[in-house]
Amino acid sequence: MNNSAQNALHHPEVQMARAPGYVAGFLIASVLMVIAFVYGTRNGLPTTERDTVLAVIAIVAMTIQSFLLFHLTLSKTQRWHTVAFVLTIPLFALLVGLSMWMFHALALRTMIPGLH
């Protein structure tokens, strides 16, 4: 039974933790959030352009976090984590995107006042 402390700590997933990476991830994500904040509060009214810019900032932040915080690479240790993640993203997008598209079309057709 591999219960000795030595063996567990030598595991690649333990050893792949990188302090500089975590600090960088923190700084980049924080800066991006501040940028988003400034941009968002400057342009108050929701428009397609504003939403797109904010969405892009969020996606960039999350991608960097995936890489630096979650170590989602194609290395032997992390390969399956990355595959599972990459396969889930489209499903996340399909759920939100197709639903929004459908309700938007529905709102146009039913013309219920106040329904966005």
Binding site: M1, W80, L87, T88, L91, L94, L95, L98, S99, W101, M102, F103, A105, L106, L108, R109, T110
Partner: protein, 699 residues
């Protein structure tokens, strides 16, 4: 309370009150005494055989994937029977309540069930069949077969596996309780809003439905994680992806669906729960709520769910047909790709369940095209099965009969599915019994494949075959019943009969409804023969004993274990050299199951924690249904405490030494019936030499 509750409420017992027990309903009272009789008979039987210790040690606290799978299937079969009774009740009501002059009994104006009860019966029928019959049976099959097929000793997370089982049992218990205490949901198995909101469902029925589905879905999600991790991480050396057995491939794709879509159901039910318990406005008719949002979220789960059910069924067909054709599966690569194609596309098709709800032509067209694409992948599978059988040495044992009938049923089921995938056609038949016939047709495919799989793998798990002549009789009555119920139903759908009718106003429909009633009678006969088959098979088990390769011409690795399979599966992990490893070894003449060297192995210990968590979940569910807040709080705290306490348990595994392992394996080999039925190991079945749960063997 944050919501307006109909009826009394007390801090001690919540909404529970004597009138909630339907002691004046003869049907329910009858069901109660029937269930009580069975429970008492079982308890008496187990006590007189002195087997409570055995039951506790070998079954209730086990983490062995094979036993967990058997228990899943057992729960599924019991609930299948309960759901079947509901079906008989629906059929009978509809054949009795035809025309304005039809008689009324037991308080009903027509037929024998008032509308409110009829609604609960079809809601229970749907919910039970999907969540508590089909899902557990298929999950049980995957549980038993997948680790054996990939050469693993158990699933990736044996403890979690048991937790998933007991959560499912807890949820099933909740459903059964709803029969005797309170009502079940009257709003269909789907639970469309706003019918399921408090103003329209002020009773506890919808809450029972919510919590039982929620709890069992949690179990299914945990099981899905387990299966995916097992298949990816626990394959035997040499088992490359191109050598993975097809049933394991379909299990992988099915569970990828499950792990991604069940959370959406969790969210949908959670939001409805918040509406009912806290008075939020997600799906209410007013205050900004959006009724269609529930429908949308539910079917995002609901459509992939049916593929979650059908893919393991297809996988089972892909195992049975090559075995009984004496040939490898035709088109393995396309089968695998088709499975993943189905899984992927199924995520883009959900709106076809509500084409008529007003989304518009462009949206409808997108989802219609996506739906039709699935037909392509399914068609690939049908052709591959046909080509597998072509020029094979066919044997028509019971599993093969089930498999061939499933493929035959897939044709009308799939074609009617493609019909309704076309939006204009769907507008004609939406909410009619044509649709009901279509999806029951597909469910029949799943059921036939599952029953075929059970008879196929039964000898591997228990060491003896099911009685063949009776098995064939069961099969033919299922076929006859299916035809007699659903062909008239298709016709009635075209004639305009809608779903969920407790009263049928067109007397011209009566002849077809009578045919359906005959059909359900044929199913009843099938059920009788099913029970008889089990009894006769167990009685004659020594005559029907089998060895490792029970059918003589199996192909994949699970047939390389002794029958019944020892608790450690393989004494030494096999090394894999080919797809259809067992067939390859047979061809090379390497059929010995005796390894040349043994090593110590680690096995997980039995534990009562999953059973306790199941019990506490049932208590939590019950407390939440009846709004007994103290019970809910205490159960929840106890659940969290138990989970944390388990995390501090260090003694969770034990070692079997190489010497002991060799001895055990020799015992299993000796009890194989190849020479004769000598030395049947005490305890029978799987229990042969189960190591004790709390001490090392040899102590």
């Amino acid at each position: 309370m944050l919501v307006n509750l109909h009826g009394p409420w007390s801090p001690l017992v919540g909404r529970l009150a004597l009138p909630q027990i339907p002691y004046d309903n003869p049907l329910v009272v009858g069901a109660f005494f029937f269930s009580l009789a069975i429970a008492v008979a079982l308890a008496v039987g187990v006590t007189s055989a002195g087997r409570w210790g055995y039951l506790w040690r070998e079954w209730l606290t086990t983490v062995d994937h094979k036993k967990i799978g058997v228990m899943y299937i057992l729960v599924g079969m019991v609930m299948l029977f309960r759901g079947f009774i509901d079906a008989v009740m629906i059929r009978t009501q509809q054949v009795m309540a035809v025309g304005a002059h039809s008689a009324g009994h037991l308080g009903a104006l027509h037929g024998y069930m008032p509308p409110f009860h009829f609604d609960q019966v079809y809601s229970a029928h749907g919910a039970i069949m999907i969540f508590f019959a089909a899902t557990p049976i298929l999950v049980g099959l995957m549980n038993i077969v997948v680790p054996l097929q990939i050469g693993a000793r158990d699933m990736a997370y044996p403890y979690l596996n048991a937790v998933g089982l007991w959560l499912t049992v807890a949820a099933a218990a909740l459903v059964m309780l709803s029969l005797f205490v309170g009502d079940f949901s009257h709003a269909g198995w789907i639970g469309l809003t706003p019918l399921t909101e408090l103003p329209y469902s002020p009773g506890v029925g919808v809450d029972y439905w919510l919590w039982s589905v929620q709890i069992s879905s949690l179990g299914t999600t945990l099981g899905a994680i387990n299966l995916i991790a097992t298949i990816i991480k626990m394959r035997a050396p040499g088992m490359r992806w191109s050598r993975l057995p097809i049933f394991s491939w379909t299990s992988l794709s099915a569970n990828i669906i499950a792990v991604t879509t069940f959370p959406v159901l969790t969210a949908a039910l959670l939001l409805l729960t918040l509406d009912r318990y806290l008075g939020t406005h997600f799906f209410t008719a007013g205050m900004g709520g959006n009724l269609m949002l529930y429908t949308n979220l539910f079917w995002v789960w609901g459509h992939p769910e049916v593929y979650f059910l059908v893919l393991p069924a297809f996988g089972a067909l892909s195992e049975i047909i090559p075995t009984f054709s004496g040939k490898p599966l035709f088109g393995y690569a396309t089968m695998v790709l088709a499975s993943f194609g189905i899984a992927g596309i199924s995520w883009t098709t959900w709106l076809h369940h509500f084409f008529t709800m007003g989304a518009g032509p462009s949206i409808n067209t997108f989802f219609s095209l996506a739906t039709m694409t699935v037909g392509i992948f399914t068609g690939v599978k049908v052709f591959n099965w046909a080509f597998t059988m072509y020029r094979g040495r066919l044997r028509f044992d019971t599993p093969m009969l089930w498999a061939m009938a499933a493929v035959f049923l897939l044709l009308p089921g799939g074609l009617t599915g493609l019909m309704v995938a076309m939006v204009p056609a769907d507008y004609q038949v939406h909410n009619s019994v044509f649709l009901v016939a279509h999806f029951h047709n597909m469910i029949a495919v799943i059921a036939f494949a599952a029953l075929g799989a059970i008879s196929y793998w039964f000898p591997k798990v228990f060491g003896f075959k099911l009685d063949e002549p009776l098995g064939k009789r069961v099969f033919w009555y299922w076929v006859a019943g299916s035809l007699m119920v659903f062909v008239p139903m298709y016709l009635l759908g075209f004639m305009g009969m809608t779903r969920r009718l407790d009263y049928v106003s067109h007397p011209s429909w009566l002849p077809l409804l009578v045919l359906e009633e005959v059909g359900i009678g044929l199913y009843c006969i099938a059920a009788y023969y099913q029970v008889k088959q089990l009894y006769v098979s167990v009685r004659d088990r020594h005559v029907n004993r089998v060895g490792a390769d029970a059918w003589g011409m199996a192909r994949s690795m699970e047939w390389m274990t002794h029958s019944p399979v020892p608790f450690y599966n393989f004494a030494v992990t096999p090394r894999v050299h080919a797809r259809d490893e067992w067939a390859w070894r047979r061809e090379q003449g390497l059929t010995s199951l005796h390894p040349d060297g043994f090593q110590d192995i680690h096995m997980p210990k039995n534990t009562a924690v999953p059973l306790i968590l199941g019990g506490l979940s049932c208590a939590l569910g019950f407390g939440l249904v009846w709004r007994i807040w103290w019970l809910s709080a205490v159960s929840l705290a106890a659940i969290m405490g138990t989970v944390i306490a388990r995390a501090f348990e260090k003694d969770t595994d034990y070692v079997i030494s190489a010497v002991e392992l060799e001895r055990l394996d020799a015992g299993h080999a000796a009890s194989s019936p190849e020479p004769q039925t000598v030395g049947i190991v005490a305890g029978g079945g799987l229990a042969s030499r189960q190591a004790p749960s709390s001490r090392h063997p040899g102590d």
